[in-house]
């Protein structure tokens, strides 16, 4: 049995990092290890999450420290640097600040600091680095991380639970009205660029040949309220305000209903460290169109249509083609399901985690 301390900025339900942390905790406990969670903030009902500041100066070298990095967190860096035992950096990537600065200097500065902190963490020579995706691994290796200690472990998710929860009847009925639905899921922030999808809907509207409904699902942040407002304004400007539906927070049942009633999933994000919603869409067999940026291509593989550019006309034509071409939609659905089953099921991710943990515990020095 080993003792683990998992550290993160925030432990919450419903976001990718929070889900990953809770799954890692679960499999460590299942394997008989001792696990302690420490975070700056705790949004779950788990009362056992320790305030991060209380851990400083109190870890011992027999503990294995796993830091889930996704934003700047100086106290976690201090803990990481002072810890005498084995250390693992779980890297979820950090949004490049220039993608956010236009709307929030505060968050952009946080991201810039986070990226600097990544370099400090790597300079401390952790025993292992766990990357969400090949893209993240490439970024880390570009900063000098040896491939031998760099493992790719997709982030754990709650897709199994999503498939088990009852779909929300109201949303299912509303969106099962015979109209074609295009879904996008992700925090409503500038780097995820849902405005590009609204532009594509605008093109379809101008053509008048097919008019799907665009469903935008995601939590908003008060720092990006202006961006959220501008999405609504853009929809009005393009005269598609009645064709774009926003859901700024959904329950698992509502999310399931939306995936099940969607005919296409689209994402035009400029930066993703992995993109869990892609995997959710694959699991539900929803055909995918995506911008081939950052980690998206690595996650999606050949299971969807990707474009390297954001020309709204091309995206609109792609939407129209998939929504009209049943054979293509079926092909993409089958490819998505296959990719999900082969790479991203909870069992596959647990196995990847267990392999990396075993390798960590087998290390001759520090760990034992």
């Amino acid at each position: 049995m080993a003792r683990f301390l998992i550290v993160a900025s925030n432990v919450s339900a419903g976001d990718a990092v929070g889900n990953d942390i809770r799954h890692l905790q679960k499999i460590l406990l299942e394997d008989g290890h001792e696990v302690k969670l420490a975070a700056r903030t705790n949004e779950t009902a788990n009362a056992e999450v320790v305030p991060l500041a209380e851990c400083l100066g109190k870890t011992d070298k027999d503990q294995i420290l796993i830091y889930h990095q996704s934003i700047d967190l100086p106290e976690a860096v201090a803990l990481f640097l002072e810890h005498r035992g084995p250390r693992v950096l779980r890297y979820h990537n950090i949004t490049p600040p220039e993608l956010l600065r236009q709307y929030s200097e505060e968050i952009a500065r946080g991201c810039a600091r986070g990226r600097e902190e990544t370099l400090a963490l790597l300079a401390a020579k952790p025993e292992a680095v766990w990357a969400d995706s090949p893209y993240n691994a490439e970024e880390l290796q570009g900063s000098g991380v040896s491939p031998e200690i760099c493992h790719i472990i997709p982030p754990a998710h709650v897709i199994d639970e999503l498939h088990q929860v009852a779909p929300d009847a109201t949303l299912a009925a509303k969106n099962g009205d015979g109209r074609k639905n295009i879904l996008t899921v992700g925090r409503i922030v500038p780097n995820k660029c849902p405005h590009r999808l609204i532009e594509a809907i605008g093109v379809l509207k101008a053509q008048g040949r097919i008019m799907p409904r665009l469903i935008i699902v995601g939590r908003t942040l008060k720092q990006f309220a202006a961006y959220t407002d501008s999405l609504v304004e853009l929809a009005k400007k393009l005269q598609v305000q009645d064709d774009v539906c926003f859901h700024f927070g959904v329950s698992p049942g509502e999310l399931r209903a939306l995936y099940e009633k969607s005919h296409l999933f689209a994402i035009a994000s400029d930066h993703e460290g992995f993109c869990v919603p892609l995997v959710e869409a694959m699991s539900f067999g929803v055909p995918i169109v995506a911008l081939a940026a950052a980690a998206v291509s690595g996650t999606l593989g050949n299971a969807g249509i990707t474009w390297p550019h954001t020309d709204a006309r091309v995206w609109a034509a792609t939407f129209a083609r998939i929504l009209r071409d049943d054979a293509l939609a079926t092909e993409l659905k089958v490819r998505g399901r296959k990719r999900y089953e082969e790479n991203f099921t909870t069992e596959k991710i647990s196995a990847a985690y267990r392999g990396a943990i075993k390798q960590l515990l087998d290390l001759p020095s520090k760990v034992n």
Partner: protein
Amino acid sequence: MDLDLVKSEILQEVFRAGMPAPLPASERNLPPGHSPTTWPEKILAEAKSAESATTVKSSLPKVFNPLLRKQNLVNRSLIASARAGADGLAEALSAADRLESGLDILHRAASAAGISPNLSESDGPSLRRSAKTSAHIVEFPWVIRQTTRLPTGATVLVCGCAGSLLNLELASLGFQVLGIDLQACADAHPNFSFLEADPAAPPLPDASVDAVIAISCLGNTGSGHLAEGHPTTADLAAMQHWRRVTKPGGALIITLPFGQPSPMSSRQIFNAAGLKALFSDLKMEIGEYAQCSDQSAWSCPVSEAQASAATVNAAGRPQGLALIFARV
């Protein structure tokens, strides 16, 4: 099912149908509610925050590269300004000269960056004259002359089209012009379509255009000046893409720097062996050369030997050109 084929069909549908963009090019792909005119101010603020010219030069790529990667957010004037810090003011002026406000933006950026304290309004006209007698003074008329060899109404792909008059010139002559650039292009003509994408890797179907025009597009990628006259992998890859999208019997009309490789040039300058490597599997119908004298006067054609001896000027700009018309 071949998804690449599906994508090709989608692109054909878009560009054959002449599908309109939802917004003016200047606004497309910008986060909505945000005016593109505020971007220069952001860039200037970044430049002003740097402590010294040296810092600016080293920080410029950090400031601009992310934006350049998001090319559709950056208009040509910003790129000209960016280059003011990295590659020299004359080069930047060459691009900025095409804009009414280019010189002003360039001055403000250069001044904020402290790169060229001696640059004043009075320098503008001479620098602009210099820009006007850049290699373009030969390249554009030569290319237009070669288009008389193309069938009437031919589909022509213009690589790196943003800011180029060639788009509208060829469209006005009856060609079906598809411009491609990573930067936005606002040109409008019934015979002109624009695709925001990498000109070195056009996402077009195989054999879909009658001709590809690439004016000074080669030699711009990677550390070209270290390649000693030979094409880089990026250059060869671009040629392969252009061959792929050109119909059998179609033409590649290409101009490229030619002469003595120089570490002063940020661009690749090709030599005869380099040209041979680039065009080895094409039927070269016309290969001409141009050279610039010490008096900034360009001449075309000159002999290969004369062009081979061409070097670079004080700003590091190549003083020799190769102009090629080749068939696929």
